[in-house]
């Protein structure tokens, strides 16, 4: 195993264990150091790695009997997503948990999720992908179950049931692939090589199973019922990581599946249709949410619908757009949840009618909210713009004018986000905020804002070297 990949996996894992064993203050320091180290390594390889398709790869035997090696690769897609994970992970660890008794658990879970995400995005074998997938599910379950608030236990169980359904489908697809791929290997390269020669029924079945599994995880309509509860009852850190990172498990899986299995154009049309429905549906439902965390959850779902539009176009433009969209969405949605979490902390409430005078009493959070809303909507010079333009170019190229229809969902999302800001910004004369946001929160805003603008202004750092 080479140094870079193994340290990207070992540092979060060791940090997680250490921060669980140590006392609160030390635990926070250790977790932060681990997150910063990971961020520095990933950002460093993005800037100075020279960006070949593969910066580093590692392989070792694992279960020779069924031909499963441990194999990872960093570069291209996995580098972009690892960058997203390390940025969001850093901001989430920094945001921390203001309940002192939960600091150690929170740090443990946050770093474990970072570990699982890095492993999953760097894996080049479906078996390894599956292992990290399930680690991520378990960690997220505990994030909601143990650290959440409100109706969190029910939400966590619901999340778990949905996730187990997705995992079973994934497992079934994996077994089918193992049996029918001639070399009996689950390496991405073997799957890709065999994708044309699979028996028709198996091909369709595997694609359907994977598609539904990833739909559940993203989530995409109609398998989204776990999402709003889970996002709104998790802690701030939890909703940042689950919405920012865990949802990408599904989106990345979808992207990988489309790239490896090369489904027919009929499947692509269905995917576009589902993606469009999901985006519009989420936008409409989001319009009616007064609980601002639920509103953000549906906003996230609408955006993932648009990412699926890019994937369904099956063109390199659309794939690049979807990939950049995952990066942009991870950052902007965790920024949104960070700001909303700060508002919840300051105002003690999360109902849009109770939050008033944000610009007077919580100006930094207010402006961060405005920028994150615009970043969500694809303001140029933020990463979201690059994603949007590439996604819709890809979709229009493949599907013609129909590919532009999902832009309508973006209009709806914009409309209700502006109403939301309109509702919370003016003051009604009463002082409602009882707390100030912590310095860590402000640094988190700064880091995420910096990331979204840096990636929007300097997209060539990542994009010029990626061939999809």
């Amino acid at each position: 195993m080479t140094i870079l990949i193994s340290s990207l996996l070992i540092i979060p894992l060791a940090g997680a264990i250490l921060s669980y064993l140590l006392k609160e203050r030390l635990s926070q320091a250790v977790a932060l150091i681990a997150a910063v180290l990971v961020l520095a390594m990933v950002a460093g390889s993005a800037l100075f790695g020279g960006l070949p398709q593969q910066i580093d790869s590692a392989t070792a035997g694992y279960i020779p009997a069924i031909n499963v090696p441990i194999s990872f690769s960093l570069g291209g897609i996995s580098l972009v997503l690892s960058l997203m994970v390390s940025i969001v992970g850093f901001a989430a660890v920094l945001a921390g948990n203001h309940r002192r008794s939960q600091v150690r658990q929170a740090n443990f879970l946050a770093l474990m999720l970072e570990f699982s995400a890095l492993g999953l995005f760097m894996a080049v074998n479906l078996f390894i992908f599956f292992i990290f997938w399930d680690i991520g599910v378990a960690v997220s379950f505990f994030m909601i179950y143990a650290l959440g608030s409100g109706d969190n236990r029910r939400a966590a169980l619901k999340f778990l049931v949905y996730s187990i359904a997705a995992s079973s489908l994934l497992l079934a697809a994996m077994i089918a692939l193992y049996v029918y791929v001639p070399s009996h290997s689950l390496d991405y390269s073997s799957i890709s090589a065999a994708s044309g020669s699979l028996p028709h029924l198996i091909d369709i079945g595997v694609i359907a199973a994977l598609f539904v599994a990833f739909m559940i995880k993203m989530p995409v309509f109609p398998f989204h019922s776990w999402m709003a509860d889970a996002y709104s009852s998790a802690s701030t850190q939890g909703s940042m990581m689950i919405s920012g990172i865990l949802s990408k498990f599904g989106a990345y899986g979808m992207l990988t599946m489309f790239m490896l299995m090369a489904p027919s154009s009929t499947v692509a049309q269905y995917a576009l249709f589902i993606a469009g429905i999901s985006a519009f549906y989420a936008a409409f439902v989001g319009m009616r949410q007064l609980n601002v965390k639920r509103m953000a959850a549906y906003t996230s779902m609408a955006e993932l619908g648009i990412i699926l539009v890019g994937i369904s176009s099956m063109s390199s433009l659309g794939y690049a757009g979807a990939l950049y969209g995952m990066l942009a969405h991870g950052i902007s949605i965790s920024l949104l949840f960070l700001a909303l979490g700060a508002l919840e902390y300051m105002y003690g409430d999360i109902n849009a009618n109770m939050l008033k005078g944000i610009l007077r009493d919580a100006a930094a959070t207010g402006y961060t909210l405005v920028v994150s809303v615009f970043a969500t909507l694809g303001l140029p010079l933020t990463a979201g713009f690059i994603a949007d333009i590439l996604i819709f170019m890809g979709a229009t190229r493949t599907f013609g004018l129909a590919g532009l229809i999902p832009l309508g969902a973006l209009i709806l999302v914009g409309a209700y986000l502006f109403v939301f800001i309109n509702r919370i910004f003016p003051s009604d004369g009463r002082l409602r905020a009882s707390q100030h946001p912590s310095a860590a929160n402000l640094i988190g805003y700064g880091a995420l804002l910096f990331a979204t603008f840096a990636l929007g202004i300097l997209p060539f750092v990542l994009l010029n070297a990626i061939t999809l």
């Binding site: 049931v161 109609p222 019922s225 549906y281 409409f284 439902v285 319009m287 009616r288 949410q289 063109s315 390199s316 433009l317 690049a320 005078g357 610009l359 007077r360 405005v370 615009f374 909507l377 694809g378 303001l379 140029p380 010079l381 713009f385 949007d388 333009i389 590439l390 819709f392 170019m393 229009t396 190229r397 004018l401 532009l404 832009l407 309508g408 973006l410 209009i411 709806l412 914009g414 409309a415 502006f418 109403v419 800001i421 309109n422 910004f425 003016p426 003051s427 004369g429 997209p459 060539f460 994009l463 010029n464 990626i466 999809l468």
Partner: protein, 582 residues
């Protein structure tokens, strides 16, 4: 890959510096003076570019899948004009602001937002590709949104800001769609490359036209601009009369050859005429001192579009320039008048306006410029536009619009004047010099420019083609003045009902916007209810599965007698089934 800085964006840099300074020293009263100084530096740089050569620069940003995203920067004639216009207006507005914005806690965000706005406006002015243009375009929307909602304690300001951004965001999305289509069709986003390439691009051109209409407040997206007057007066003067709202018109002017080729000129012409008629009729009955001017701005923008639609780019450009120098002072002076009169905005309740001679002279000259009275401000442009209207219907509608605009602007001037004696119940507040100097200076510039243009036009092309249109325009301008005098001056002042329903068509727009919003809300609540039902359904499914699991639990109750019974039944079945074979 490195990003070299093109010369065309040099004027932006001082403003970005000023914005950064304003954000760092948020409560200092000095940031206003610093921004003013930086705007002068930026003006000097813009003037240097204006006198310099025309350049076209293209910088590769990133490329993917065979598409190279290029940032283009042009300093062609139109680009130079807009760049200089923005940088000339800005110092006046900044100077005015140092007198107008006096609350310490407002300083930082006001100047930061203004400087970011001016930077994006200048970037827009020198953009040479759709990509550069779109970056600036969206930042115009964002800063306009923030500045309209500047007064955070006013619910109305927040509402106005939201209405404007919703409309403008519609345009942004339309523009994004157009850019996607153009890029796929032509493989480039460079203005010139696209304009020279063959091929019909009607769909993206219509989308761009829609986007331009949202930005320039044209029918049917016209009503956000009057609402935008909730922002501070210098914001209204800078963004919502002289620069930002012109972005849409400017884009149409730049792309005019494509619209001509696609045969869309008549669409532009007639949307312009409809909007202008709607705007002047509202302006005739509106009572809010700044909203009247907002309707007037809509009319100005429509006139520019009408000129483009008639193929008279020269007239459009002249109006584009001169309009800024009479409309911005009018809005700045409105802010001053409101400040003098306890922030009273109803022209029928304002008394103190003639108390300040400088202010009065400025608004008088600016009003004369707005009405097409020879030889002031808009007379030459309106005459030129009339001269290219070959259609009799269009020509007479143009005269009607000119007559109405002369009437409403003198109504705007006379109504407060006539009330000055008996209704001067407000306490008079003295004005700072910094609030008086910009308006009067700008009006004088406007006079100088229009005299120069008239002289220039007559000496190069002679009076022949514009003699009759000029006569007509001048005559209707004077008629409007007379009508306003008879109807609104002194004792006649309230002769026209101010909410005459035919003229006051704003309500119809409110109702239709509201109905659209309501329709979407109905859909949204249906979706929400469905979502709730879906959630409940899935919970019920879960419960049913749990209930299913209870069936074996019923049998395995832990009661030995039940087990014995089950054992006996099972044994009996076995014996009955297989007993024979044993």
């Amino acid at each position: 890959m490195s990003l070299p800085i093109p010369a065309a964006i040099l004027p932006i840099l001082p403003l970005l510096l000023a914005a950064a300074v304003a954000m760092l020293w948020r409560r200092s009263m000095k940031v206003g003076y610093f921004s003013f100084a930086m705007s002068l530096v930026s003006l000097a740089l813009a003037a240097a570019i204006f006198t310099g050569p025309a350049t076209q620069q293209s910088i590769g940003w990133f490329s993917i899948a065979g598409f190279t995203f290029q940032l283009g920067f042009y300093t062609l004639m139109l680009n130079k004009i807009l760049l200089l216009l923005v940088s000339v207006v800005m110092p006046f507005v900044m100077l005015y602001s140092t007198g107008f914005i006096r609350t310490p806690s407002d300083q930082g965000r006001y100047y930061a937002e203004m400087c970011v706005f001016a930077s994006s406006m200048m970037l827009f002015a020198v953009s040479g590709s759709f990509l550069t243009m779109f970056i600036a375009w969206e930042f115009l929307g964002l800063t306009s949104y923030l500045l309209i909602g500047f007064y955070t304690n006013k619910e109305a300001a927040a509402l106005a800001a939201r209405r404007s951004i919703t409309i403008i965001f519609l345009g942004d999305i339309a523009m994004l769609a157009a850019i996607v289509l153009l890029f796929l069709q032509y493989g480039t986003l460079d203005f010139n490359a696209i304009m020279q390439a063959p091929g019909n691009a009607a769909v993206p051109l219509l989308l761009i036209l829609f986007a331009a209409f949202t930005k320039s407040a044209q029918f049917p997206t016209n009503e956000w601009l009057p609402d935008a007057m909730e922002g501070p007066a210098p914001v209204s003067a800078f963004l919502h009369s002289s620069t930002m709202v012109k972005a849409g018109v400017f884009l149409v002017m730049v792309l005019m050859p494509m619209y001509v080729a696609a045969g869309l000129q008549n669409v532009i012409l007639w949307i312009g005429i409809v909007t202008a008629l709607l705007a002047v009729s509202n302006a005739l009955v509106e009572r809010h001192i700044k909203r009247i001017l907002a309707y007037s701005t809509i009319e100005d923008l429509s006139l520019m579009l009408i000129a483009v639609g008639l193929g008279n780019l020269y007239a459009a450009t002249l109006l584009f320039i001169v309009q800024a120098f009479y409309k911005a002072p009018l809005l700045l002076s409105s802010g001053s008048i409101m400040r003098m009169n306890d922030e009273q905005s109803d022209i029928f309740k304002i008394g103190n306006s003639p108390r300040n001679r400088t202010l009065f002279i400025a608004v008088l000259l600016a009003s004369l410029s707005l009405a097409s009275i020879f030889p002031f401000g808009s007379w030459i442009e309106k005459s030129l536009i009339s001269s290219s209207a070959t259609d009799a219907v269009v020509g007479s509608l143009l005269l009607l619009i000119s007559f109405a605009s002369s009437t409403y602007i003198f109504r705007w001037l006379f109504v407060p004047l006539s009330g000055s004696r008996k209704r001067a119940e407000q306490e008079y507040h003295a004005l700072r010099k910094s609030m008086l100097v910009p308006a009067i200076t700008m009006v004088l510039i406007s006079l100088a420019i229009s005299f120069y243009f008239i002289y220039n036009y007559l000496s190069t092309r002679g009076a022949g083609s514009i003699f009759y249109p000029g006569l007509e325009e001048g005559a209707v301008g004077l008629m409007g003045l007379a009508a306003a005098y008879l109807l609104f001056y002194r004792k006649h002042a309230v002769a026209v009902p101010s909410r005459a329903w035919l003229l006051y068509n704003r309500r119809a727009f409110d109702i239709s916007y509201y109905s659209i919003a309501r329709a979407f809300n109905v859909l949204a609540s249906a979706a929400d209810r469905f979502d709730y039902g879906l959630d409940r359904g899935i919970n019920a499914l879960g419960r049913a599965l749990i209930a299913f699991e209870r069936i074996p639990a019923l049998l395995e109750s832990g009661n030995p007698s039940v087990y014995m019974l089950l054992f006996a039944i099972g044994l009996a079945i076995l014996v009955l089934a297989f007993g024979g074979s044993l």
